[in-house]
């Protein structure tokens, strides 16, 4: 098709619908333009106004997040958030979903998700130092789910390992609702100098717009719209749009960009992610209060005969857009040439605020940048509490049969994919490259040193879809609390979060209610813990044939440890050490893994959270670690006390038993496997007990000594007695045993 022919394509009702635009939206486009859009422009509006790019259903609600704080240098709105470490250094981090692409092609979908989040970090001027990932699949007894998990993990490994960025942690969960819609959330963190942060802004009339990285092919056209749709049979036909990742090229792009960032040639820089050239150009122009003019004939193309529509919407990976200082084009290109990469001036910054696109000497699109960004539609969608809520929340354990043999319950749970060791996953990830990783995956949070400083950075990703399904607001709060608790268990102080919100169809009022409540819970907890939100990602339309996934927020949290050597690990250390539980006691069965795994019930209120108590428990743990009293600290979460105790018995160097006595409560299963919030299991030498007592009394946190470390069995009250090596064997084989069957 010639440029002229494309310009003459008639915009019909059908075409508008195919582009996912409503009649009102189309009217709005016409009024913003003052005319009918042409075909290319329609495509551009369609991707920029898609849910994925415009956040039209979530923008208003996300405003409730606390975003300011002492440490926050950059909150939401840029490619990633920036948080101060000290006067000189900052950490830059963000989380992103790649759910839909990963279902269609799990290896490439997951790989390009990793590639995308890494670009978000280095586009800010930070050297990426660690990745994490949060994965949710359907049950592994189904071969398709095993296939998805195997390929997703391989894809994450393939990309991250090749980039030389360690993948240091994450989570994996299984639930039937994710069978047709796995959740693949990836997190990346980088380190930058505070005074060398780069922003995605185009300004300075006449400054060149430079395209760098891979050439543009027909990959992923309409990726952003696909991520804004639910799956149905026709999704299969969209398959050819999947992009293939090229981590080698991205590694070169990373090094070239970081080299360029040492100079003063950059005015603004942004990666090309969803909606590729379109999104990067209009967002940079929008933020900079300027316009851009680009010529598509100059864009390096991988295929012949690409139309302006295709070039503008292509989601080919490993590309960036740079606005450079006038006169520095050649210097910029030279750096990219050294790394064998394209560096091409494709246009310049203008003063009129429009994104003007030319091809074959003609203007093929001319749109006010703000019409695509700030003026995109925003909706306050109707919401309503779903009917199931009353039913599930009114459940009580009355009448639930208590197991006769608790030892075998524990053994079954330890050997299940949900609670078993995730080593099968993280051993496929290079988690050591760059030699900063102090705490490997397998602990509550991961810890990195920052070379050349005394500091350590802790990071974790956490979420629990089941809790949010049962009570979204509590679930949101629990996710933040658990993330913070995980950091605190290593000795790191939580500073800020990023979040990925995975939900169903926002046009379904019940889903919207879940979303609203979840955000409320996260916001409240973040305010309480003073861990502001620095950014994140919303992924809607996670459902198949009308059935939404559980509302699943994933919290990515980062914190700092002043002396990276003063960390603590989760496992028991010494024979004879006292075992102590900090925080709440008692057992709460609602929403627990035990209830689901042993009784097939997903009901009840999730554990209630008392934020004040949670804060005290965390404070006591941090102080205890700081003073060297605490020798091991482990968060008690999924699987409850018994599972957390068993995990505390395993270290990379071997196993050690423990003997635990608990006050009898009315239900032993609730005591052993209930998931009451705000609990941390710590161990200490008996000699430090008086010091601990003083500390805990001052903070006024509940605690109790429940036993001691030693022997080769885990014994808990009269209920459980199992050789630690046996538990360990079951736990280690849990995933591998199912997947490699």
């Amino acid at each position: 098709m010639t440029v002229q022919e494309i310009k003459e394509i008639k915009i019909t009702q059908g075409l508008i619908e195919q582009h996912g635009l409503s009649a009102e939206e189309y009217e709005k486009i016409k009024s913003l333009l003052g005319r009918e859009p042409n075909y290319t422009e329609l495509g551009i509006f369609s991707v920029m106004w898609s849910e994925h790019c415009s956040y039209k259903s979530s923008r208003a609600i996300l405003k409730r997040f606390p975003i300011a704080g002492r440490h926050i240098i950059q909150g939401p709105g840029e490619n990633a958030g920036v948080v101060a470490i000290d006067d000189d250094l900052a950490m830059v981090f963000k989380i992103e979903s790649h759910n839909h692409p990963s279902y269609i092609e799990p290896y490439q979908g997951a790989a390009t998700g990793v590639g995308g989040i890494i670009r978000d970090i280095f586009t800010m001027g930070a050297r990426p130092v660690a990745c994490l990932n949060s994965l949710r699949f359907g049950p592994l007894n189904h071969p398709k789910n095993r296939y998805l998990m195997t390929r997703v993990v391989a894809g994450i490994a393939g990309y991250g390992n090749c980039m030389g960025i360690p993948t240091v942690g994450g989570e994996v969960c299984f639930e039937a609702c994710y069978s047709q819609n796995p959740l693949i959330n990836v997190f990346c963190l980088g380190i930058a100098k505070r005074d060398r942060i780069f922003y995605a802004r185009a300004c300075g009339e006449g400054n060149p717009v430079i395209y760098v990285g891979s050439s543009t092919g027909r990959d992923g056209i309409h990726g952003a719209t696909m991520a804004s749709e639910e799956f149905n049979e026709q999704s299969e036909e969209r398959r050819p749009t999947v992009q293939v990742g090229d981590p080698f090229t991205e590694k070169l792009l990373l090094e070239a960009c970081l080299e360029l960032m040492k100079t003063n040639y950059i005015i603004g820089i942004q990666d090309m992610g969803a909606a590729g050239l379109t999104c990067s150009n209009c967002e940079m122009a929008g933020r900079g209060g300027a316009g851009v003019e680009i010529d598509l004939d100059l864009v390096p193309a991988r295929e012949k005969g690409m139309t302006p529509y295709e070039i503008m919407l292509s989601e080919s990976q490993e590309r960036m857009l740079i606005v450079a200082a006038k006169g520095r084009e050649d210097a910029v290109k030279e750096i990219f040439a050294k790394w064998d990469l394209h560096g091409v001036s494709i246009g310049h910054v203008t003063a009129d605020g429009n994104m003007r696109v030319k091809k074959g000497g003609q203007v093929v699109a001319d749109i006010p940048a703000l019409a695509l960004t700030d003026n995109a539609p925003a909706y306050l969608r109707p919401k309503i509490m779903p009917d199931y809520i009353d039913e599930v929340q009114s459940w009580t354990p009355d009448g639930l049969p208590e197991p006769k043999d608790y030892t075998s319950v524990l053994e079954r749970m330890m050997g299940s994919p949900a609670l078993g060791s995730k080593a099968w996953v993280y051993e496929q990830y290079d988690h050591m490259v760059r030699i900063n990783t102090i705490l490997f995956p397998g602990a509550d949070a991961s810890l990195l040193r920052i070379m050349g400083t005394p500091y350590g950075i802790g990071m974790t990703v956490d979420g629990n879809g089941r809790y949010c399904y049962l009570d979204p607001k509590t679930g949101g709060m629990l996710a933040v609390a658990e993330a913070a608790r995980n950091l605190v268990c290593t000795g790191a102080r939580p500073l800020a979060i990023t979040n990925c919100l995975n939900f169903g169809d926002p046009e379904n009022p019940e889903v919207m209610w879940q979303f609203d409540e979840t955000v409320e819970g996260i916001a409240e907890a973040c305010r309480f813990f003073d861990t502001p939100v620095t950014g994140g990602n919303v992924s809607f339309y996670n459902q198949t044939l009308g059935e939404p996934v559980f509302p699943t927020p994933v919290i990515g949290m980062a914190g700092v440890l002043q002396d990276c050597r003063a960390y603590v690990t989760p496992w028991f250390k010494h024979d004879g050490d006292l075992v102590c539980i900090i925080g709440g006691t008692g057992g709460h069965l609602g929403g627990s893994e035990y209830l689901k795994a042993e009784h097939g019930i997903i009901k009840g209120m999730p554990p209630r959270i008392n934020l004040a108590l949670e804060a005290k428990a965390q404070k006591a743990c941090l102080r205890g670690i700081g003073l060297g009293i605490i020798r091991s600290a482990h968060d008690c979460s999924e699987g409850g006390l018994a599972v957390a105790m068993a995990e505390s018995c395993f270290s990379p160097y071997g196993s050690i038993g423990a003997e635990i006595n608990l006050d009898k409560s009315d239900r032993a299963d609730a005591l052993l496997f209930g998931e009451t919030a705000s609990r941390i299991i710590v161990s200490m030498n008996e000699k430090r007990l008086p010091e601990w007592e003083r500390l805990a009394t001052k903070i006024a946190v509940p605690w109790q000594i429940v036993g001691h470390v030693g022997g080769d069995r885990l014994k808990i009250g009269p209920w459980i007695s199992s050789p630690v090596e046996r538990l360990r064997h079951l736990w280690e084989r849990a995933l591998a045993g199912v997947i490699d069957q």
């Binding site: 090749c162 990830y429 050591m432 490259v433």
Partner: protein, 233 residues
């Protein structure tokens, strides 16, 4: 001990090796861009781990044509010390500086974890600080690390002391159970006939500082110290 760390496009342990040579060992060290053509003045040239050229086609296959590799041939012939770690080892195999080849791990997956390797030859410049038969606690991180050579070639190598490390138990026992990737004879590292070129899959630079959990890797570098100080080995 003046050191150079070669940087191929896609190398990603270059920075780690640089750090250990410079800040842990205290030696002068330079990055050497793969297009450079001069190795004068260096005592040790290190080929680091990573994914040179993405490991596309075969690990190390493309990097071995880099201009620096010509130079490295001459450097090695003159007795210069060459250490290839992981991808660096693969490059040395592809270039023929070391015998054998790498296949995909038998489990087909990338593996990153700590293993033990037994020191089979401690009379090399790289192993003089180790005891013969000692088990080193050291990480691996690779997908194409299954060492292969035909059986006669391997027995030749064994006779000549060219098999330097084998995967083993913490107690130095060699058994297939401790072989993470299916390597012939559990081989984890080999050297050339002269003993001045060593390739190994495990990463000594990842375990050379206490804060990282093991310091066994430093034995490889401190062995070189003996060479630097002229202690006969």
């Amino acid at each position: 001990m003046r050191c150079g760390v070669v940087v191929f496009p896609g190398s990603n342990c270059d920075h780690d090796c640089y750090h250990v040579l410079k800040h842990v060992m205290g030696w002068p060290v330079d990055y050497i861009w793969h297009k450079q053509k001069d190795l004068k003045g260096y005592d040790l040239v290190l080929l680091p781990g990573g994914f040179s050229y993405g490991d596309y086609l075969r690990a190390g296959a493309i990097a071995r044509f880099s201009p620096i590799m010509n130079e490295l041939n001459g450097f090695a012939e003159k007795g210069g010390l060459v250490l290839g770690i992981c991808n660096g080892f693969q490059v040395l195999l592809e270039s023929g500086l070391l015998p054998g080849a790498m296949l995909m791990n038998r489990g087909l997956r990338f593996i990153c974890r700590y293993v033990h390797i037994r020191v089979e030859n401690n009379s090399l410049p790289f192993t003089g600080s180790c005891k013969k038969g000692q088990a080193l606690h050291i990480p691996i991180a690779h997908q194409e690390g299954c060492y292969y050579n035909d059986p006669e070639a391997i027995s030749e190598m064994e006779k000549g002391g060219q098999v330097v490390f084998r995967y083993c138990s913490p107690e130095s026992e060699i058994d297939d159970r401790y072989n993470p990737n299916g390597s012939s004879g559990n081989i984890a590292g080999v050297c050339n006939r002269q003993g001045n070129v060593l390739g190994m899959m495990p990463h000594p630079e990842r375990c050379s500082e206490a804060v990282l959990g093991s310091e066994d890797g430093r034995l490889i570098f401190s062995s070189l110290l003996k060479v630097a100080e002229g202690v006969s080995i």
